[in-house]
Amino acid sequence: MTPLNRRQFGQGLIAVSALSAPGILRAQSFPSRAINYIIPFNPGGESDVTARFQQPFFEAITGQSVVIQSKPGAGGATAWAQLNGFEPDGHTIMNTIVPHTVLQPAMKDVGYQTADINNVFFFHYTPDAVVVKADSPYQSLQDLIDDAKANPGRVTFGGSGTNTANHLASEIFADMTDTTTTYIPFKGSAPAMTAVLGGQIAAAMSYTTQGVKAGEQVRTLAVATNERVAALPDAPTFKELGFDHVGGAYRGVAVPAGTPGDIQQRLSDILQEINATPDFQAQMTAAGYEVIDVPLADIPAFIKERKAAYGPAIERLKSA
């Protein structure tokens, strides 16, 4: 079972978890006050926007308000390093991203380890995408690969920061296409897209959402999903083009260490219920996000699988 089609399995879990219950009363009365939802990125970014998509549904389900708080810094590391310092009662939850929380501790001392992040649910992923300007000479991914093969290092890929998810994706891309490209780090995925639009760099190793946002100004050459993305019907998947690459930024929700198990389960259930809402799904897919369900029970296996997928590329980044 891949992590991408676990919805049926997860829905079965809701029924099971509702019955298994030492602290069932506590879980039922949860949440008893407003939830602080901490976003480790700037307002207006993808983590913030998806959290704001969730907000009204969360409030409708629980009857409690959700306060979205921004604690940006160091590509999220600042907030994640502080996660376990918050009160472990489930009323403080934090947005997390894989591969960020796998990659950052592997590369540098960022004040936390991957195992320190107590994820309760992953609710969507933003698929990787290769985006070029609309008037770029690259009509297809093959054009880009051909150019990169003919002129090693000449093709420039912009992305968010050094040793980040985009950097990792560009390493994976170089590996599977057997090309050499130059990775240019920017302060976030938006500035990288600006540089693509301005013609300063050849392509962005970015996300489907950026391709959707820039609309007609850009062409998305490939997306890292199983099926084509609804919001970008003209963009082929890597699989169609013969490359086995599915992935992106998987966004989840984590709680401080020591949060009672039944409350973690309740949060996982709430988030899964939000994911099942058609209105929520419609909002997400229109913007280019892929909704997935990775409930509490599946998280260890999911993290293990992702770690294995990133392993070789991380090793190469380290030796670079």
Binding site: N36, V67, Q69, T162
Partner: protein
């Protein structure tokens, strides 16, 4: 004034240490990550040398400081305590006490108790207003 005791010499010494530290740390950074720390460090070291030379050769006039140093130092201590205690004792309590202490430090003359009480009440009202505005209206979770 003895030019070896010129105040710029002390500043130069501090700068030299800081710049040296930046350069030292930059050695263990990646090529691209090290450029600006090295630039800043080198600038500080160079600046420190020029500053010291200038102090020794010309001994330029320094800005004259007016007023006492004691009051600002007390004020600084109060601000530091205020900042450190903020997450421990909560915004309202710390700020009422902090503002009160600052108010007393800032009094240049003996003032009647009535004035003091009035000023204190005004500041307390300000703290409560700010707490209300941010904590309740704008949903900023105050400690």
């Amino acid at each position: 004034m003895n030019r070896f005791l010129h105040r710029d010499i002390a500043a130069a010494a501090g700068l030299l240490a800081l710049g040296g530290y930046a350069l030292w740390e930059a050695q263990s950074m990646s090529v691209f990550g090290a450029i600006f720390p090295q630039l800043a460090g080198a600038g500080m070291v160079l600046g420190a040398i020029l500053l010291a030379l200038r102090a020794l050769i010309w001994s330029p006039a320094l800005p004259t400081n007016t007023g006492t140093v004691l009051r600002p130092l007390l004020m600084l201590a109060a601000l530091a305590a205020w900042a450190i205690l903020l997450p421990v004792t909560g915004f309202v309590a710390t700020s009422v006490v902090g503002a009160g202490v600052c108010m007393i430090i800032a009094q240049q003359h003996a003032v009647p108790f009535r004035t003091l009480a009035l000023q204190g009440a005004g500041l307390t009202a300000l703290v409560l207003l700010v707490a209300l505005l941010f904590g309740r209206l704008l949903n900023v979770p105050l400690p």
